[in-house]
Symmetry: C2
Subunit: 384 residues, 2 copies
DNA sequence: GTGAAAGCGCTAACAT
DNA sequence: ATGTTAGCGCTTTCAC
């Protein structure tokens, strides 16, 4: 259970040389606030022998570098605040002793850990994977860790994850979407941890929000298809009962279409987005609404299935049927025909979230209710 | 910076009723080992007013439930070890005070945190996303958190991530693959934290390993194509210079083919796997080796590109050219024709890893060098 | 079964 | 710029 015992080994190797220099490592600790009785010289206390412990601590580094522990701590957090001499002595000690700071202890003392809790529906979803990856990369440079949680589109689960997240006294909490349980909202709103909601804009937010308006995505798709001369539209959606954002895109699509006097048939599938679902939805659509000439999909997985099914049914895309997806996934540009789609910037969302967190930690006032619209891009390729 | 201040508010609301019961919350703490001087009654010390702190602590729960903090701690970790009366009093107190345990403090005291560090090349990769998601779900049930790191296929980066991971005194460290820098290996081998290497088998392992043999995957693909009567094989690989496991699959493919007296042309692309890369690789292959009649791809993204390009080039699949991929990604079964592929079980890997970790924490001896072969399945669909 | 005591390794207010 | 000091909130012996 003890960890970093390797360091102890290193220490043992070095031991003789250290003794030569008259240094005593692993010596008595501050016995701060100790009782006054039996503190007579000679009654050495068995320092740090009690439990499984880290071998090399900041104290050891301090002794080796002949400075105080707090100077080491300061050096670790703000090297520029320490004199060059002390700095290099500490650096040398750290290197020599192979010291690895204990962030858990640091987190406890500082009442805020260098962890950022990111809660997404699932990292299996390429959109969130992208954001999580971008955030991890950006946060890492600031020596912040990512603690990951998956809600699987369940608000109860999210609530639980938030509760646990708070147990870690994170530097920030990142949530997906603006829709959370009452309890989640209450827990969070009364806490000083910065909360960042990602991948959705356009509703009441807890603190900062970074993302885009999903209804605008739907509207853009509708306007695009109509612009292409399509008048019989359908929206194919997977898992829209759970995926609020897919639903918002659908709503935006329908609203923009009816504004233009065009009706929309919404065809749904309860399963998660997949090419298979898309294929099924397309065949269902063409059967129920054979006049359909323009289709928008809740995302590119579904659109890919549409493309495949059209090929099988010998439906010409885009001549007979125009199709547009959402996501610009890895295969979208390579499809037959290349898939028109709307690209959100998942990585930008992650980067901006990381930036906000870092700025907040640097003391910049939380400027609550910050909203960053990362927007989206309609890629007009050959499927429409 | 302080967190969970919401609890303080809850407390304030409840305050009057508590006073009624004569309870004093947020009272003096144990001033354990305090100096003897000026400890006269009347000189109250300003308890817990110094820094930004958590509002409700285990001590508050203990006072409310009229038990000692250690009993609360025990109840939280092993409820069955506490008497029914004390247990329900504590449960009530926790509920009433809205207590959220501080895992950072717990981790420090226990010298091991309830965190598991998972280090993968990237969660953008569907394979690892699957495993990470499965692990997170399984670990969550044991109240373990996932700390995520991305190496981006860089051993130096991995080394750094491992170092940071150790700073968190994690309950376990999960690494991808068996290939690590010398320093990484040294840091890890001398530490008592269980290390689990995933997604690769067949080399020297640090501790436990869960995954499968990638060369066997390649061999299975080769035998399959040869069985289908193909004699002019090609292996299309993306990013094989970085992705060791893709390279192993390729090697296994080539070896099995030459064992059967069939030669293989390996065609590579340096970019990450994508349908676009696959399309390019196919056109290159058919140009350089027009007699090719069987193709294996480093994964299904590449195979999808092959399928698309064959369609564009009017190459009949599987009649003229059989294709098999790797991964069984979400679109693979829905392709035209449905893509033959080899399915690894990314989620099984995650589940087994979680199981090992939980067992280890339950005290089961690490049984080092544990190896779990999660195997793979060849799905013979219509592309071959 | 329960409680008192003693830290875990670090940070940060304060003093110098 | 550096050191002194007093905890952060919890776990874990060890008595009882």
């Amino acid at each position: 259970m003890g960890f970093m015992d390797n360091l102890k080994q290193v220490l043992e190797i070095e031991d003789c040389s250290l003794q030569h220099k008259g240094l005593i490592l692993l010596s008595q600790r501050y016995m701060g606030g100790d009782m006054s009785e039996e503190k007579k010289p000679g009654s050495e206390r068995p320092a740090r022998q009690r439990r499984k412990m880290q071998s090399i601590t900041m104290m050891d580094v301090a002794e080796y570098a002949k400075v105080s522990p707090s100077t080491v701590s300061l050096y670790l957090r703000r090297p520029e605040a320490v004199s060059a001499g002390a700095g290099s002595a500490i650096a040398h000690a750290i290197d020599k002793l192979n010291y690895v700071p204990n962030l858990v202890a640091g987190g406890l003392a500082a009442a805020s850990s260098r962890a950022v809790s990111i809660i997404v529906p699932s990292v299996r979803n390429a959109f969130f994977a992208e954001t999580v990856a971008a955030m991890q990369t950006a946060l890492r440079k600031e020596r912040l860790q990512v603690i990951l949680g998956h809600t699987e589109y369940d608000e109860r689960e999210e609530e639980d994850l938030v509760r646990t997240a708070l147990s870690w006294a994170p530097a920030a909490i990142v949530l997906t979407g603006l829709s959370h349980s009452e309890t989640t909202r209450r827990m969070l709103s009364k806490v000083k941890v910065p909360v960042i909601e990602i991948w959705e804009l356009g509703g009441p937010q807890i603190d900062a929000a970074i993302g885009f308006h999903h209804d605008q995505v739907g509207a853009a798709a509708a306007r695009h298809l109509i612009q292409q001369g399509r008048r019989h539209l359908a929206y194919l959606g997977a898992r829209m009962h759970e995926d609020r954002r897919a639903r918002l895109r659908c709503d935006g699509f329908v609203a923009a279409a009816s504004e233009a006097g065009v009706e929309v048939n919404v065809v749904q599938h309860p399963a998660p987005s997949s090419a298979e679902a898309g294929a099924m939805l397309l065949s269902e659509t063409m059967q129920d609404f054979p006049q359909t000439d323009g289709i928008a999909c809740s995302n590119d997985h579904v659109a890919l299935g549409v493309l495949f099914e059209c090929e099988r049914l010998k439906i010409a895309v885009p001549d007979r049927l125009a199709t547009i997806g959402f996501g610009d996934l890895s295969f979208s540009a390579a499809c037959n025909p290349p898939l028109s789609t709307i690209r959100p910037s998942g990585d930008l969302i992650g980067k901006e979230a990381a930036r906000l967190i870092v700025e907040h930690m640097a003391g910049k006032e939380p400027d609550s209710q910050t909203t960053i619209d990362t927007r989206f891009t309609l890629l007009h390729r050959r499927s429409s």
